[in-house]
């Protein structure tokens, strides 16, 4: 919401009170940036005159490290930049390697990957559905969100051993077969989460104060979205109907988003903080639907292998390929260039949050300090995903 700065003259006499601009550093250590993002903002009273995101405090040189590790080791690194979408991060990389190798992945592995990717999406979105209201001063939603996360994490932990960095993908499939009875427990957990989700929703949806804080605040129009390469739920909240799961299907998404599948793309047209929050909330429901569908498909599949036997030294043939996946926070792409060695020659990472926070400079000008936090939180970013 850009408004012309209002001239405020206080007092009588010679020209009112002079006001001076104040430069305020939000971050790198600040409770609202959940990580080490820094914003340098110029304030006139509470109004933000200028805002500049300064990134790089968490740069870990991931892309350079990719170049000196073999493909099994890279997977460990690749799942870390966006620590809330670890499983989805793994998928993009293994898909790129598999495609360059021309490898066929067993169907059972593909469906399990799809299932876990969607559970990961729910986990990610629940995190933001809890933390965003917290930034607006509501302290309860995060406890409800984490209760659901805990149950979902339990099934993820059971299959992979990890609660955050699953490391369950391998080139050619998955690490292990599904534990016995796991699918039933996933189904029960999904049902449980679905049953308790209204608790969380009732605190977020329809709350007048939350509406007052988010409606019409931080409106992002489609033009800005496309020019900055914003993607994911944030782009869809501005009305950009794009979702790689449907538009460029990978894994089992062509069936999921097909005529009979449960998949659908959630969009809104408002482009404000409220629209972004609503997209996130509805995507949780869609992802739960998809996950349930995957469970049923997996149940009807014949038992079979979940991976492919790999050579001792895995070398990717010479060439280049780009694989982008629809991660929870947006498009996540890997550009893999190989010279036929056991390490990539170059592995470029396109992460969603980097582009998504770049628009902050445009969005924040002219807003109030309190809205700044509302907008910042609604960009749903992970600092590791920005800085890599």
């Amino acid at each position: 919401m850009t408004q012309a700065p209002r001239e405020l003259t206080v007092g009588v006499g010679a020209g009112g009170l002079a006001t001076a601009d104040m430069v305020l550093n939000i971050g790198p250590q600040h409770p609202a940036t959940h990580g080490v993002l820094r914003l340098r903002i110029t304030l006139d009273g509470e109004r933000v005159l200028k805002a500049e995101p300064i990134v790089g405090y968490m740069h870990r040189g991931a892309e350079k490290l990719f170049e000196v590790r073999d493909y099994r080791q890279i997977l460990v690194l690749a799942n870390r930049h966006d620590w809330l979408s670890a499983f989805s991060n793994e998928i993009g990389l293994v898909l790129a390697v598999e495609r360059m190798l021309g490898m066929d992945v067993p169907e059972r592995a593909t469906w399990t990957r799809t299932l876990m990717a969607e559970l990961n999406r729910v986990l990610n979105h629940l995190m933001f559905l809890g933390s965003y209201p917290l930034e607006l001063g509501a302290i309860t939603p995060i406890f409800y969100a984490f209760r659901e996360r805990e149950d979902l994490q339990a099934v993820m932990e059971e299959i992979s051993g990890g609660r955050m960095h699953y490391m369950f993908n391998r080139v050619g499939g998955l690490r292990d077969d599904l534990p016995s009875g796991w699918l039933g427990r996933v189904e029960a957990t999904i049902a449980q989460v679905r049953r308790r989700l209204p608790d969380l929703e009732s605190l977020i949806v329809g709350n007048e104060i939350l509406h007052a804080r988010t409606r019409g605040v931080g409106v992002l129009d489609v033009g800005v979205v496309t020019s900055y390469g914003v993607s994911g739920p944030i782009a869809r909240a501005s009305g950009l109907d794009i979702d790689l799961r449907r538009d460029q299907p990978y894994l089992a998404y062509d069936e999921v988003f097909g005529a009979d599948g449960p998949g659908r793309v959630v969009t809104r047209t408002g482009g404000d903080c409220q629209a972004r929050l609503e997209v996130l909330l509805e995507q949780v429901h869609v992802s739960l639907d998809i996950a349930e569908y995957c469970v049923q498909r997996l149940g009807s599949l014949e038992r079979g292998p979940v991976n492919v036997k790999l050579p001792k030294v895995l070398k990717v043939p010479e060439g280049a390929d780009y694989v982008a996946t629809e991660n929870p926070l947006g498009m996540n792409g890997y550009y893999l260039v190989s010279r036929g060695e056991k390490t990539p020659w170059r592995l470029k990472l396109r992460s969603a949050s980097f582009n998504n926070v770049a628009v902050l400079g445009e969005l924040l000008e002219g807003t109030l300090l309190a809205d700044m936090v509302a907008i910042l939180g609604s960009m749903f970013f992970v600092v590791g995903d920005i800085d890599k």
Partner: protein, 321 residues
């Protein structure tokens, strides 16, 4: 007012002080537990054994052990005195709140006026803290709290005026004496305005913009450590105690209840406690408003309703006189 011997004065002062030091702890512990259960967790469980009853005492001990830091850029005098200003104002206010006709620290004729006046001073402590800290977040927090003061003080006083007018006295004891169950209906709008404005005065959610942790770290209290910080926390809870009791006395009839000859003070306490739980409840369920939204709400919502209430009360008083 009856003449008091110096012994009586000291005794009353000591009792008020003891009440002032224990009731905020009770509210604080209630907040810990009530909030925890509303959020599906346990809250403190270990300190003291039974359901963590001693948690706040343990917190207090911890606070006293912390180093007392005054930032180099701070205005030393104002910085050091700010917590005292915030705290003492509510102590003075508590002294004038009656628990039963006979149980009141200082029964002054215009006690409603006194309570409202001194509890407003608490905000000055916040302002002093924000200004003197030499910290930009503190300064913004102080500005917000000043802006907030302007917007809620008027509806608060207008709503209180309605109660005073209905009772025909400015004395809290007199107002509670004049109370009848009919008040619950015809003073309802004023009571709601009072509750909202009181929450804003206390800087409690949804009106906690001055301390908004996700925006201003801790607002005016950002630079405080140890005991001085604890004093600010204590003054917040003391504020809840004072405002809840005031609400109970003004609108809920104070000590009126079964066996109120002997148990009057208990009724006042229970009613006040109930209001405190409502204030805690608001914190659990609502996000924070924006400063300008509060201003808008105060001037376009609370003030007209309070004026309307005042008119209703005036008509009521004239008709029944």
């Amino acid at each position: 007012m009856v003449d008091l011997s110096w012994f009586d004065v000291v005794l009353r002062a000591v009792i008020v002080l003891v009440g002032f030091l224990t009731m905020p702890l009770l509210v604080g512990q209630t907040e810990h537990k009530v909030m925890a259960h509303m959020q599906g967790r346990l809250g403190p469980m270990y300190a003291g054994g039974f359901h963590g009853w001693a948690q706040l005492i343990a917190d207090g001990v911890k606070f006293t052990q912390k180093e007392d830091i005054v930032p180099a850029a701070a205005d030393r005098g104002a910085f050091r005195w700010a917590p005292a200003v915030a705290l003492v104002s509510y102590l003075l206010a508590l002294a004038a709140v009656p628990f039963s006709p006979s149980m009141v620290g200082a029964d002054v004729p215009g006690s409603l006026l006194l309570v409202l006046a001194v509890s407003g001073i608490g905000t000055v402590g916040t302002l002093m803290a924000g200004w003197s800290s030499g910290n930009k977040y503190s300064l913004i927090g102080a500005m917000r709290s000043a802006a907030q003061l302007v917007s809620y003080e008027l509806p608060l006083i207008l709503a209180s005026a309605s109660f005073a007018m209905a009772a025909g006295t400015l004395s809290l004891t007199g107002i509670a004496h004049a109370w009848t169950p009919v008040w619950l209906i015809w003073q309802l709008p004023g009571a709601l305005v009072f509750l909202v404005a009181a929450t804003a005065e206390l800087q409690r959610p949804p009106f906690d913009m001055p301390v908004a942790d996700s925006e201003l770290v801790m607002g005016p209290y950002t630079e405080y450590t140890g005991l001085r910080f604890a004093f600010f926390l204590l003054s917040e809870y003391a504020g809840i105690v004072v405002m809840s009791l005031l609400f109970a006395v003004l609108y809920l009839g104070g000590w009126t209840g079964p066996f109120d000859d002997a148990l009057g003070w208990l009724w006042t306490l229970l009613k006040g406690f109930l209001v405190a739980v409502v204030i805690i409840w608001m914190r659990v369920s609502w996000p924070r408003l924006r400063e300008d939204q509060l201003q808008r709400f105060a001037w376009l919502g609370l003030v007209p309703v309070a004026l309307l209430q005042l008119a209703i009360t005036a008509v009521g008083v004239v008709l029944t006189a």
